[in-house]
Symmetry: C2
Subunit: 292 residues, 2 copies
């Protein structure tokens, strides 16, 4: 008797394939060497798949979240951009980020004293630490506190203030939808120190331009300073991905801050020019050149 | 009796899908509204497919080349970067580029007097002018001379010198393979005026890093000045795409040159920071920060 395959997986001529429905009209198929882990957590279907193209991949409800081969790009960008803007970030809050990749990047700054990682799904943290060390770094830094709780509840009831909040959420469907609400960004504002800042992923400028614009405008309505930046994420639809910063005070990065940091993607040049947006994005979010 | 579908197309629950084998281990499926054109030229299988995600797409031998929705990014980048570097480009040669998108961008510069477009496959030009106006712009500028000839032969036998040569080739398999040979770059060098420059697409830094490095090094061996830059191409594997410039004299762009040009992606900020490469690419091509 053979075990039934999860709905996202299929066999073709003896090969195993993951089919990811990026959109209704666009599907991506990854050839899979091996199902490393598969099971249901309390929140979602969780897989670690060993793929030919991207090595081990975290797949939640059939959607590729991060991979051994390209995960560093997203994680470095969402962490090092705000960390190069705040002159002395000591207390950092990560909402989501169960793959531990963002926490790994934040740990590279000696000045950071505390990292609260609030992830709803403990199973994601467990499997990424076990099977995805390229992303999670086998994180065992004593500054990281793992808090398994709903991010929205956490930020509502918390009194400790942070210098930096990083929202490393999945797409705005299902449980992550509330992480794109204006009331959530207001809670983040309340939870930040007087010179603190927040950053979140704000979806694809090509495929989700309405969500991107909405996210930017909601954050802009609350924070005195707001900027957008992009990077490429090879395993996300369209490749180009946007991020939005809301800040109470600081907004200009100090590229020299990443000079001594061990990275694979980010360097001083990338940080220096991070706010250069293509013309169509300037129009989308109604800013003039350079996102000012 | 129903007509047999081309091998790249299949029906699934009444829907038509194009399956693109990006790599052996990675396939992308586009849902198709309609086969707009389909047939064989003397050189390849040519299709124009109307897709839900990307509008009309040019598909050669099953591989998506350019689309109505995202074609402008590639075409603007490969044209406006070198055109902002050369102070007075008058004679421009385009090798490949049968979709006419690069020629459309070059035509935006009044100082350009002549554009020789050397495309091996006349059928590609015809179908793109007819069915892909978003890319080709229904090009009817009298400065453009269409020359239906093999690019390698053309550059070997030509005596007219150019200020700028743009190599808009497909991937280095089949007919385009010779466009990645060192002898071809040497022919381009010989065909350029004393202050001329060339640019070519040099594949994905993530999936084709060996070809990318080889291309960069071959051009570097011939030209006094060589630089690499990137952009995102949503319909190419990995999203991130590299381009290499070989120049006899000028290498620094003047971003103000694009200020008055009608574009959708390129602006002054993008040109100003075009040579900022991620750290892993600096290592790949062995340059220090900022590709110098």
């Amino acid at each position: 008797m053979t075990k039934k395959l999860p709905v996202y997986l299929s066999k073709n001529n003896g090969d195993l394939w993951l089919t990811e429905d990026e959109r209704e009209d666009l599907k991506v198929n990854y050839r899979i060497k091996e199902i490393v882990f598969e099971g249901y957590s309390d929140f979602q279907h969780v897989m670690i798949l060993n793929s030919y193209c991207f090595g081990n991949m975290l797949v939640l409800d059939g959607a590729v979240q991060t991979t051994a081969i390209d995960g560093y790009i997203y994680n470095e960008i969402i962490a090092h951009v705000p960390l190069s803007i705040h002159p002395d970030p000591q207390r950092v809050l990560i909402i989501g980020g169960g793959d531990c990749g963002v926490a790994k990047e934040v740990c590279k700054y000696n000045g950071v004293k505390l990292i609260d990682l609030v992830e709803i799904d403990q199973k994601v943290v467990e499997v990424c630490q076990k099977y995805l060390p390229e992303v999670s770094g086998n994180l065992s830094d004593s500054r990281v506190r793992f808090i398994y709780e709903d991010g929205v509840n956490f930020v509502r009831n918390k009194s400790l203030k942070y210098d930096l909040i990083i929202v490393d959420s999945s797409d705005p469907v299902g449980p992550a939808q509330v992480l794109f609400e204006k009331s959530f960004y207001q809670s983040l504002y309340n939870l930040l120190r007087n010179n603190g800042l927040m950053v979140c992923q704000s979806q694809s400028p090509i495929f989700h331009s309405e969500i991107m614009k909405q996210t930017f405008n909601r954050i802009k309505d609350i924070f005195p300073k707001t900027k957008m930046f992009t990077t490429i994420v090879p395993t996300y639809p369209g490749g180009l991905w946007s991020f939005t910063i809301g800040s109470k005070q600081y907004i200009n990065p100090d590229p020299t801050k990443v000079r001594q940091i061990d990275t694979y993607y980010v360097n001083e040049q990338i940080i220096k020019h991070i706010f250069s947006l293509p013309k169509f994005m300037c129009k989308q979010i109604k800013v003039s050149h350079s996102n000012k």
